[in-house]
Amino acid sequence: MEVFHMAKITEVIKYEGDNSTFIWKHPSEDFNSLTQLIVHESQEAIFFMNGQALDLFGPGRYTLDSENIPVLGKLLNLATGGESPFHCEVYFINKTVQMSVKWGTDSKVRYIDPLTGVPLELGASGEMNLQVCDSRKLLIKLVGTMNGIAWGDSREGFTKSLNDCFRPLISTAVKANLTPAIKRGGIDILEIDERLEELSGVLRESIVPGFEEYGLTIPQLYVTTIVLPENDPNFKKIRELHTISFQKKVVEAETEIRTAKLEAEAEVRTAQAEADAGVFAAQRKAELERQTTETEIARREAERDLIRAQTEAQAAKMAGFAEAEVMAAKGYNEKDVLQAEVQKAFAEGLGNMGGNGGAGGGMMSDIVGLGVGLQAAGAMSGQLGGIFNGFAGGFQTPGAPAQAPEATANIQCANCGNTLPANAKFCLECGTKVENLAENEMICPACGKKTAKGKFCMECGASLILKCAKCGAEIPTGAKFCLECGEKL
């Protein structure tokens, strides 16, 4: 081994530290030229020569060129008592992300609750991920001539830690930015855990520049705990107020829910009623159309009947007139006719007893026949005249008094007041079904049902006494204007 040791000309320099160290200096110094440097994928290495930070090496194997010439270098060291004047060293920088590095404020953060004005003291702590972003800067600014640096633990040759170096920065940044962030975000102190991500982002933005100045960066920073002063009377007061406020909100919410439910039900009912009314109106419209059609048909039938009857009556009349003219031409008058009638009747009576009743004499037959015809014509013309008057135009039979038509009792629609024939079953205007009411019965205007005449409806209890909308005076049934103020109803 000694032989191999003596034959050793150069060295192999590679990382021999742990993964939690940020920077580590290789113990070998003043090594010879042609020394092999091996740098791992997650590392960088800086070669120092004569006190200068020269080359920065990434992953790979490199041959270093120092000023310590193998073998011959010993001769050069003679002038310095065997010690090499050509100093060289290598620092390894760990580029992995150091996860879950703990941080925390060293003292409480003072906070004034904006709602109540109550002063509180909060604490904040969490974890962060740390990584070297500029090896040279960290090495030159922070490590200096130490053997290395880590976050916490002090190791041999590590005279300080990053935690000690950055604690004031973190503490100040947290204290200066935490409470403004809470106020700016309108965060309720009792619901602060919901907004930890937001607070983490704000604090990270304020802390990172300080770290980057020394070649470090914080990929992620987490505020895991905001310590609330549970035993502080002020905080208890805030919690009580919050509970009261919450209960109030619950009540308001319930009220809103109930109101919304009622409104929804009312809307549903209204929609249902509108739908039913629409259906009913459609039904009534259809019924009305059907009645109109039937009425139209009936009217047309009646017109046809009328025309037919008129024609027949006209024909009978003309026949009667013709017969009368014939009789007049023959020299017979009305008296003769009546006399002939009596005789005919007597003859018929005798005929019935005797036999030959019908064929007795041409004159008697003519007169009887004429009298029958005239009487029939007179009676028929009177009736037809009444019918004809009822339709329009008037039809006057000469000599026959126009008999007025039999007086029919018209009715009024209970809904719109339209005049309807007595036998109408539905209103021609609005299609309302016409109730066959007795004299002491009426239709309630509120519920539309049949009820006895009186002051109140027997079905729904609504008042049956109509009152004027303007003056409030009682209005008799069927009135179109108010008796007191003349308001049109």
Partner: protein, 230 residues
């Protein structure tokens, strides 16, 4: 340096005179024997070589660094002189000491010394060459660092100062060892830096910001390539 050599030469001459006086005036039974002259010759040659080495070390207007690197050569030649003198003196004065043995010892001593002197000189030259190379390679960044530092001092407006400080830091913590392949990138950096200097002198905040950002990108790019070319 020449003054130093003169002083050294005087000391050397005194040493030589003392040697000669000792050699010729001190009574000895082996005086003027072949062994005597052998030893005397080697010592004299050692003296001459030593003064020669001293001449090449001190006489030229060399920098202190060069002088330092040549010191081992002088040291070795001095040690060679001493060793040769001792061995040669034994050859000169020791009665019954074989001349051939004395010759071998003297020659070995002298030879090793000369070899060591030459090797140390070579080593010194190699180190010197490396240092020259490092100096050339790191000149660009070092010069730029000085210029950037000056620019920071010249900045009067705080916004400009902040931007220029960023540029200074980026240059300061850049890899100082350049490479031929980076000549283009470094030329661009030089041009951009000149623009920055003009913008700072004109107190143009907007231009300073824009140029600084461009410069930072160029420096970062240059450093990445530098790392790649290792």
């Amino acid at each position: 340096m020449k003054k130093n050599f003169k002083s050294y030469a005087i000391v050397w001459a005194i040493g030589l005179v003392i040697f000669n006086l000792c050699a010729f005036l001190v009574p000895s039974p082996t005086k003027f024997t072949p062994g005597f002259w052998l030893g005397y010759g080697f010592i004299t040659i050692a003296f001459i070589l030593h003064i020669g080495t001293a001449y090449f070390t001190f006489s030229k207007d060399e920098a202190k660094e060069k002088l330092f690197l040549n010191l081992p050569a002088i040291t070795i030649s001095f040690i060679t002189l001493i060793c040769t003198a001792i061995v040669a003196a034994i050859t000169m004065v020791a009665p019954g000491f074989p001349d051939w043995l004395g010759a071998i010892f003297c020659f070995a001593c002298f030879g090793l010394g000369v070899a060591a002197t030459l090797l140390s000189k070579t080593a010194g030259d190699m180190v010197s060459q490396k240092e020259e190379k490092i100096k050339v390679q790191t000149f660009f960044i070092k010069a730029l660092t000085v210029d950037a530092d000056t620019l920071v001092s010249q900045s009067q407006i705080p916004e400009i100062k902040a931007q220029v400080t960023k540029v200074y830091e980026a240059i300061r913590y850049s890899d100082p060892v350049s490479n031929e392949a980076l000549a283009g990138a470094e030329a661009q950096i030089t041009l951009k830096f000149n623009e920055l200097q003009n913008a700072v002198s004109e107190n143009d905040v907007q231009s300073v910001q824009t140029i600084s950002n461009d410069l930072l990108i160029l420096i970062k790019d240059r450093n990445s390539k530098c790392k790649l070319l290792k």
